[in-house]
Symmetry: C2
Subunit: 576 residues, 2 copies
Amino acid sequence: MSTLFLRTLRDDPADAEVPSHKLLVRAGYVRRAAPGVYSWLPLGLRVLKAVEQVVREEMDAIGAQEILLPALLPRDPYETTGRWTEYGDGLFRLVDRKGADMLLGPTHEELFAQLVKGEYSSYKDLPVILYQVQTKYRDEERPRAGILRGREFVMKDAYSFDLDDDGLKAAYDAHREAYQKIFRRLDVRYVIVAATSGAMGGSASEEFLAESEVGEDTFVRCLESGYAANVEAVITPAPDPIPFDGLPEATAYDTPNATTIEALVQWANATLEGTYGGQDTLKTMVLRVRQPGGVWELTGIGVPGDREVDMKRLEASLEPAEVEVLPEDGFAAYPFLVKGYIGPKSLVENGVRFLVDPRVVDGTSWIAGADEPNKHYVGLVAGRDFTADGTIEAAEVRDGDPSPDGKGPLVSAKGIEIGHIFQLGQKYTNAFEVDVLGESGKPVRLTMGSYGIGVSRLVAVIAEQCHDEKGLRWPRSVAPFAVHLVIANKDGAAIDGAHRLAEDLDAAGLSVLLDDRKASPGVKFKDAELLGMPVVVVVGRGYANGTIEIRDRFTGEATEVAVDVAVSAVTAAARA
Amino acid sequence: MSTLFLRTLRDDPADAEVPSHKLLVRAGYVRRAAPGVYSWLPLGLRVLKAVEQVVREEMDAIGAQEILLPALLPRDPYETTGRWTEYGDGLFRLVDRKGADMLLGPTHEELFAQLVKGEYSSYKDLPVILYQVQTKYRDEERPRAGILRGREFVMKDAYSFDLDDDGLKAAYDAHREAYQKIFRRLDVRYVIVAATSGAMGGSASEEFLAESEVGEDTFVRCLESGYAANVEAVITPAPDPIPFDGLPEATAYDTPNATTIEALVQWANATLEGTYGGQDTLKTMVLRVRQPGGVWELTGIGVPGDREVDMKRLEASLEPAEVEVLPEDGFAAYPFLVKGYIGPKSLVENGVRFLVDPRVVDGTSWIAGADEPNKHYVGLVAGRDFTADGTIEAAEVRDGDPSPDGKGPLVSAKGIEIGHIFQLGQKYTNAFEVDVLGESGKPVRLTMGSYGIGVSRLVAVIAEQCHDEKGLRWPRSVAPFAVHLVIANKDGAAIDGAHRLAEDLDAAGLSVLLDDRKASPGVKFKDAELLGMPVVVVVGRGYANGTIEIRDRFTGEATEVAVDVAVSAVTAAARA
């Protein structure tokens, strides 16, 4: 440590909000070079490399082959798939000296699809899984929390290519298991949640979320069944339909100024009783939706009035279409839209696609707009008075909502995305016509999966989950050094003994960080706690009596052992 | 090999000119993704990682500490040192979503200087050597030869920080030795040449050039003394001055239309004899020179007329100033410049800085322009008829020129730059005011060295130096696999035996590439030669008689050995 390029800081950096960011900077693991762009100092780089190594070993174990593609990429392939545009401001774009458009790779589906197309030509070549550990670039709108969400970051991205869906499923399952092993080895607490596929395209997809208060992803789970899903992926269980027999007819009421759900509920509570008492409101919202390459079209949605529309869920449901709420000045073009009093009837009658929350099953009765100023229907029955074109997951998910598997209530929690596995299908192989000659002699279009792990992010996630109030606490699998050996005795014999012990531990295969600085024991202990090696060995006062101390950074437990068994005792502690 | 992501190609790629480029593509080591931008396939990546590993080990051995800085960098520090502008089109620049200017790092002096300034504050912290193995970016005007000169490439860059020149010298020497070890371990034939410092600034500097016909760097060396230098760095030995006594007076001659050196020489040969016979011409050239941040100023140079001006040497001599030959339309502003007849006298008399080749010593007589149309002086004597402001290395260097050390003639050769070591001095520490508190209590400005190795380029250099007409031939230190085991026998027992041998070799610590493909022995042997593992083991016809064959890819030698001693024999061959 007397020569290590390391300065620990007493104070938290001004721009840091989350514990991992504060500690990784204070302990001298990383330094900020620009917003969302970080330098890795010696200790940080050792953790990063250790995480990479675990990831590599488990990827190799499933037969994945490591390659390395460039980060600086031509525009063309991303133009072919539309992502040059879709990524919007999130893509770092540049122009080279010849005027060619280029980009910094945010993820590499295009390049891998092209590569496999270029190399492979026969069904005999398949299946194949390729991966890389690479620096990636995304121009995040709000880079935050240090290396937790950076603009330059290290990712492991893997891509599988198969002849059919069974092959894709097998590759997907192999990655799922490999990821579980990786995160277990890294001591990360995580959940696997059903996910939507975002801009990646494709169908089946799951996210690995590290449980964390500072996470930006909200997920829900059912503690009874273990079901877990990204909020965007929650499927609302539909109740059984209700027979129409005996349901009262819909009646139009005067509802002056009841242009909001709150006002309407107030009116209903004050006015309705008997047959119509206790009916729920149906909130109708009008959207503009545009399929890729298409034109803007109207779509109406109906959700129970006591729920907010969750725009992220709504957008995920309609993907890859773009969505926006019909703006104020958009109403003029549709005279049948009476703002504040829009109901299902006129939408359906005027040919507007109308999608409802899965809870709006046939036979449910609703208070809904009557498409005239100051009028609402009461007792408007789904399936009888209006028929929707389908259902949509647009309503907010709440704690206590029933789990889709019917086994209990959902509770929500926060997480940090650390892994993502996708069955992409043929989105990219179609774009680049990635075919091989099949067994039958006819061309077969390949099907593709993509699988990512946030390698540099994991360093922050582990710091986030493992720290305590004194500093970092690294799991043995990724600690920069296995042992932190503190010389806390000014006696020459003790100092010599500590150096000898460091050499012996090194010879025994343990990496040792030796604190040989001219500093007080107090300063050294504080730094040892901040830096967070799992095992701290102290050569202190006891050395004169032939003992050293072994401290466990996780439990805080301290054990005195005799100097002559120090190597085996420390080795045992370090490998525990 | 039946599952390896590898397709060898029969034909050379259309854009490849040099052997390493052709072979690395044909053998499936790399693939082009964009001009000057390459993907590393499994075998190529293994070589790249092996080179990285050798570099890391020798850097660690001199106490250098590995860190990792970002490739995506803010403009500010490069603005501070002027390199944001100096790099011209060679720099990849981009603008982020917030409108901030950024760049892709071509080299990192600025960032390392800033980093050390941020962490260190006392003389006790010094010295320190930091390094990284990182992807770098330069928008080369002519990316060429595959990974030999790419726009995205892997470099090891190291930076030393010291309190004084002695420290810098020690760090420089440590790097010089480490580089020698690295290149020896990689089996690279190289020379160390004195170099100019280019855009990097600073003083003492040497280049490590791999000897190669396809190199872009020309260097000269003296075979007698071992002296070697980049052409830009060659210092011309000055002859002894000649006493003026007895030298005839300068005489102006009519030299109609002798506006070129050729015409002038022709005229002199036809006209001059006796006293003035055999005089050499002096070529005068007028330049515009601009110091950084300054204005354009006239400079004249004079070189012996039988030598061309070497613009690279000229520019290196005047660095960091910009230089251009005075353009046609620039003469009008200086009536004393008579185009075709410019001589030293009017330049000196009109206050133009005038620099001469070191051979133009006092007492040498020249035929030179007389500053009037169709007139030249003959017998114009340096030091008597004109006095230059100094010397300049601007004339071409030729094979046969005397070595600066006086020990013999120079011969020229081509090389590829693989390493570069610089004593930068305080250029960057001045720019960022990198001071620490000195032992005396006063601030000390640090002095800095920078040291680079072209890691990905070395893969091409090794391929360039080691291939033969059949394919690649990797030195044992960087071969993707130690052993290439070819199954050239369809018999079940032989196939099983080959698999067992592969496992045993693996257990013995050798990496094995097993060719288990359903292909003919001929195809397999050809691929083995193309791929270039140093040791090829063939399980072929001899297996029935209890023998296998071991082939040395370098010597071509084949040895039959008994199956029961195969592991030890192959191990010995692989470790030879």
